[in-house]
């Protein structure tokens, strides 16, 4: 199956925020009134109801000039996703296109994914059921997997009027990004392709005008060792242990029954249960 990549060239973005609106519109997400942040930026970061946020960064470049930098920020859809690794319910999975999605029916709202995402894009939303009991679910960008299923590009890409975002075959998009960096290095000497290897590469690939840290991004994000330890070692071993315990219980039950059948220590009301 073709792996797709959302290619974001931040140097072409004019900060119109149509991607944010398109996302809310397609995914039926409610508006979130926010406090004034001292800049044009509407939200501090992505939330459970705002899956992409346009960052506005005032940056002083090497020459002492002010650069106004924009970045469409949303889920990176990592190839080795920490959220997928830490999820104890296997609610997070990879699709055949390379996107990372959360199964809302399986999510128990534990928040491990929120804590472990190197890019801080996942958030929990609180709900109340009809009995007033509170519960939580994790939410983030799905890369519009429901649209990809129908052969359509993600809503944010479709709406981008400057061509800052494109969607397509992974290899083609990465080549495009590399070519673009060469073109803009005269104006942005620190320009780079952001497709971090520490998470196996991502399915949202950026051309950044400045170093990742300028955008508040980790220079070299990694899947936390504890996450690897949890998913690849602790969970299987735990299951093995559970299997062993269950076997022991079954064994004990069978032995007990046999013991009882022989009529030793049998109560009238049916065995050793403490009713």
């Amino acid at each position: 199956m073709t792996k797709y990549v959302k290619y974001v060239d931040v140097t072409k973005c004019d900060g119109c925020r149509a991607c944010m609106v398109a996302c809310k519109n397609w995914n039926d997400l409610p508006a979130e009134p926010t406090e004034f942040l001292g800049s044009v930026q509407s939200h501090v970061k992505t939330t459970a109801d705002t899956w992409n946020v346009l960052q506005y960064i005032e940056h002083e470049n090497g020459k002492g000039d002010l650069e106004y930098l924009f970045r469409h920020s949303s889920c990176f859809h990592c190839t080795d996703a920490a959220c997928e690794k830490v999820c104890p319910e296997n609610a997070i999975s990879y699709t055949k296109y390379g996107s990372v999605v959360i199964d809302q029916d399986k999510c128990v709202g534990c928040g491990y994914c929120v804590q472990n995402c190197p890019f801080e894009v996942i958030s929990l939303k609180e709900y109340k059921d009809k009995n007033g009991k509170e519960y939580r679910k994790a939410h983030k960008c799905t890369m519009c997997t429901d649209r990809i299923d129908e052969g359509l590009q993600p809503a944010c890409v479709t709406t981008c009027h400057t061509g800052a975002m494109e969607f397509g075959n992974r290899e083609v998009m990465i080549q495009k990004a590399e070519k673009r960096v060469k073109e803009i290095q005269g104006r942005y000497p620190n320009a780079m392709v952001y497709n971090p290897e520490g998470v196996g590469g991502t399915h949202t690939v950026y051309v950044l005008a400045e170093k990742p840290s300028v955008y508040g991004l980790p220079e070299n994000p990694k899947v936390p060792t504890s996450a690897v330890a949890w998913k690849d070692y602790a969970q299987p071993i735990g299951k093995m242990m559970l299997g062993a315990t269950t076997m022991a219980l079954v064994g004990a039950f069978v032995t007990n029954k046999l013991f009882n059948k022989e009529g030793k220590g049998l109560d009238e009301n049916g065995g050793g249960s403490d009713e």
């Binding site: 797709y4 397609w26 649209r147 990809i148 129908e150 052969g151 359509l152 590009q153 479709t158 969607f167």
Partner: protein
């Protein structure tokens, strides 16, 4: 591909036929069609370019294509084997040329009478003729594409006269009408009826299907014409006009059930 009302099997068959036609077109010598754009008067009156084109039909190719087409059809529907048997035998050189000519002028009654004379199902002769004519039409369209900038109102496709019923939105919202038959395409105004030229925004309306983010039907209250408009900017891969037309067939049903047609309708004035 967008979910379609057309069954997957039929979509696959059509996709294969479109692929065959592409291959067949490559078999043709580009000089096998010689379109003439000299008669401006005829062109302005809406005579399709295909009617002003000299075509050298190659009988051997025609028979080979019919054979390939029959094999494909039978693979998808083995029941057709008996219905399609013996058809090749009926196609001498003269009949073949006649088929191409009649398909070019869309002469349904000729094909209906051919079918009844030879005791075959009515759809078969016209379907075979139309399918094998298309590579020629597509080659004509390819050769004159550079010269096609607009269509004559109410005359349909300037190359093959197929009624205009499919437009796509391309980059920057440009509306381009595509002919699903010969694959010619030309630009059109966003707010203009392709059939009667009406530009009055009060009488041009749009019908949309709930949950369908890419298509709309533009209808004209003046001439009762409609055209499907598909926003192909949203597609990951752009499908060919023929498949786009097939997969949006539900829009034709909706438009026609609401009283619109893909051709111009002269309204009686008081």
């Amino acid at each position: 591909m967008i979910k379609s009302v057309v069954s997957k099997e039929y979509q696959d068959l059509q996709e294969e036929i479109v692929e065959l036609q592409k291959q067949w077109k490559l078999d043709l010598d580009p000089e096998a069609v010689r379109p003439s754009l000299e008669d401006q008067e005829a062109l302005n009156a809406g005579v399709p370019i295909a009617a002003l084109t000299v075509i050298d039909f190659k009988n051997s190719l025609f028979l080979q294509w019919i054979e390939e087409l029959i094999v494909t059809l039978e693979r998808y529907n083995p029941e057709l084997e008996t219905k399609l048997a013996g058809i090749i035998g009926l196609l001498d050189k003269e009949t073949a040329i006649r088929w191409m000519d009649e398909a070019r002028s869309f002469n349904q009654s000729y094909f209906a009478s051919f079918a009844s004379t030879h005791g075959i199902e009515e759809w078969i002769p016209q379907f075979l003729a139309e399918t094998t004519l298309r590579p020629y039409l597509q080659l004509i369209a390819e050769r004159v594409q550079g010269e096609i900038h607009h269509a004559v109102l109410g005359a349909g496709c300037p190359v093959c006269a197929e009624p205009e019923r499919l437009a796509v939105l391309e980059e920057e919202g440009k509306k381009v009408i595509h002919c699903p038959r010969c694959l010619a395409h030309w630009s059109a105004k966003r707010l203009e009826c392709a059939h009667c030229g009406n530009e009055d925004h009060k009488t041009i309306k749009f019908l949309t299907i709930e949950g369908d983010a890419v298509s709309q039907i533009q209808v004209c209250e003046q001439c009762n014409g409609y055209i499907k408009i598909i926003d192909t900017r949203q597609y990951i891969e752009k499908p060919s006009a023929a498949l786009l037309d097939l997969n949006s067939i539900h829009l034709d049903f909706v438009a026609q059930e609401n009283g619109y047609t893909a051709t111009r309708e002269e309204k009686l004035l008081n």
